[in-house]
Symmetry: C2
Subunit: 413 residues, 2 copies
């Protein structure tokens, strides 16, 4: 499916979220980034414990990424109402804007503004990159669909007691190991770059290899090199965007630009892969790669790096992790599990992908819950989690929220 | 410069060509592909000897590729007039439409229709690929700018005695060897392909290498492999276009399409490189490439080839080659050169690029003349040939046309 952030389709989903949560007795606040906070009162006042995720998707995304977390939050509200449950403190559900960074090219941008890690103005000025030639900005689209809220986008205006996020794993591990729940302890470190290779346009038929500065051949070598370097470090390197000029079958391209996404659970590993790629790309551009079988050339390419995004490794809060663990054990355990152990039903994990929980964890206790998805496929229309897996996740989410409420009640705040 | 075929800028150049040649006493015929034939009468009737090339350019092209050949032809007409030269048979200049194949993606398409190698309807239905989202076809653009001529586009309607084409070398050999004239004996064989790689979109952070079917990494390996295979055969392989989907920094692309242009003086070598690439790409897509250091994966990509264009090796006509050789020797030689030898002023060459002369040579005696260009650069705004090199080329072009006229006169037809 395709529900790009702040599109007409996104407005529809937002309207549904507001109407549904209001009909369940919530007060809904919209902030200056369009983040929607639906809060169900407790028996006493205090910062709410939130279940949160996002309703936007990639251009060819799936029906679970983000959406499951919000829908399970709404389901929690229904279940609490249906069973006349009163919590000690308020609980709520939050829908974060443009988590994907697909339409406006900064992922988790609105939880980032809320955490005061990203300036509001930078976020408002982000330009749409999909559809092509769109001139809209985040601010103009928030205004257009009526979701530029009057509440400041800040953790000071909409504070939390804690944030729990249910999400599909987006990887194949839980399925492969036959585990029902991933107890997520943190998010891996990652950096995004734009790499620009400049060579020289020349005729494909009349220019011998030794006279070429072929930007696409050079970029191809770089993409392969980044893959090998990351593999050597048990890290990840990926290129998802590549554009070139001039773009003609019989012209060797003189200009190529590609994205590079480097990830590892450790910040130091990401830095090492980055440093090795920088050195390797320099060598490749200069034609000093000694890969046997390639033709030497008198002409060199130049290479330039731009850092687009840095997300250091995130470590979630022990209290939240424990609530998830206990809720998982309640649902799936067989009594044989010791305190802080995870039974065969679950697995302690580090998230490979970034999530809004990265930013909420900077301000308030946070953790995440993963459920298996088929073949580990995500960011793809074939994305699928079984109804049983979704129910498991929703149960653990509600269990964790209620346990956290009990924890606060016990400590009196 | 950018003068895309059948654009407003191209119409201006065409109008200039028609007005100028008419003012020099020519009759101008326009055929159904917009090819313009300007003919200066001889003392007797007969098929004209043409100087021909093209006025369209690549999107970021140079000021000499094609343009020099047409302008030198016009200069020839002026020189003949200024010096009251009467030729035995008519001589002319032809401006071929869309030689570059940049806007309408089939190079030399209009000389191809004229040679009856390409069906008129296929050519008329070619869709513009530049600018993006243009819906124009060759036919609609010919109509729009007033160049859909009433004469059939066929060598039967506009026959020739011979065709000579002056062109910049588009390579560095003449400059490097300090030669003034390339005596072109033929054009190398080439084939154009579109290669489609299908993998699976997946999340860059949550998908380990062993679970990926990364179409861009796979395409990068293929581009590098095609380069190595071509190099091993002393042939050329080049990729000038690459597009991918979905195009997001944090999504491993599941779809990549790229152009592949394979060239060699020999048809068999092109076929060998094609066959080896097909085998190598199959292995790479299946993950069977044993290139050390890349991560293995359980998932495969698929690969598909489409042949877009085949241009077998072309061998020009001995009579025409001899006329060029003698004209070159007249201009640059020192008398010490034996018949059919080329002195230190020139070099026998095979053209790396395709030209309209490939198609004219299928129907009538043809050959080409090359002059040096700086650094061998072409298809680039930096393209440059010195005024002296252009003058050399124009002199040899006119000399060859006049010698061919003399040859016909001697044999009486």
């Amino acid at each position: 499916m395709s529900r790009l952030s702040l599109s007409d389709a996104d407005k529809q989903a937002r309207d549904w979220f507001a109407e549904t949560t209001q009909s369940l007795g919530c007060k809904v606040t919209v902030d200056a980034m369009g983040n929607q906070f639906a809060v169900r009162p407790g028996t006493q006042d205090g910062n709410p414990v939130y279940a949160g995720s996002h309703l936007d998707t990639q251009p060819t995304g799936g029906r679970y990424d983000g959406i499951l977390g919000v829908c399970a939050g709404v389901e929690m509200l229904k279940t609490l109402n249906d069973n006349w449950v009163e919590t000690s403190f308020p609980v709520g559900v939050v829908n974060w804007t443009n988590e994907e960074g697909a339409r406006f090219p900064k992922s988790m941008v609105s939880s980032g503004v809320w955490a005061e890690s990203i300036p509001l103005e930078d976020a408002h000025n982000l330009k749409s990159v999909i559809p092509a030639n769109d001139t809209a900005t985040m601010k103009s689209e928030l205004e257009r669909i009526g979701y530029l809220g009057s509440t400041p986008a800040s953790h000071k205006s909409t504070p939390m007691a804690a944030h729990f996020e249910l999400h599909i794993e987006q990887g194949p591990i839980l399925e492969a190991e036959n585990r029902r729940i991933g107890v997520v302890r943190g998010v891996q470190s990652y950096k995004w770059f734009t790499v620009t290779v400049r060579g020289k346009d020349s005729h494909t038929g009349a220019t011998q290899f030794r006279h070429r500065a072929d930007a696409l051949l050079t970029a191809s070598k770089m993409i392969l090199a980044s893959h090998k370097i990351a593999h050597r470090h048990s890290a990840l390197a990926s290129s998802g965007i590549l554009t070139l000029k001039p773009g003609s079958t019989n012209t060797v391209p003189g200009f190529v630009q590609f994205s590079l996404d480097i990830r590892s659970p450790k910040n130091e590993t990401v830095d090492e892969v980055e440093a090795e790629c920088k050195e390797a790309f320099k060598q490749i551009a200069a034609g000093a790669d000694v890969d046997s079988g390639t033709a030497p050339s008198e002409r060199q390419c130049s290479v330039e790096w731009k850092t687009d995004f840095v997300s250091p490794a995130t470590f979630f809060h022990d209290d939240c992790i424990k609530c998830v663990q206990e809720a998982g054990n309640d649902l799936c355990g067989h009594g044989e599990v010791k305190d802080l152990d995870i039974g065969s039903w679950g697995k302690a994990m580090t998230s490979g992908a970034g999530h809004d929980s990265v930013y909420t964890s900077k301000r308030f206790p946070t953790s995440m819950i993963f459920v298996p998805c088929r073949d580990g496929v995500s960011h793809n229309p074939a994305e699928y989690s079984s109804p049983e897996a979704c129910a498991d996740g929703a149960n653990v989410l509600m269990g964790a929220v209620l346990r956290y409420d009990k924890l606060r009640s016990a400590r009196g705040h």
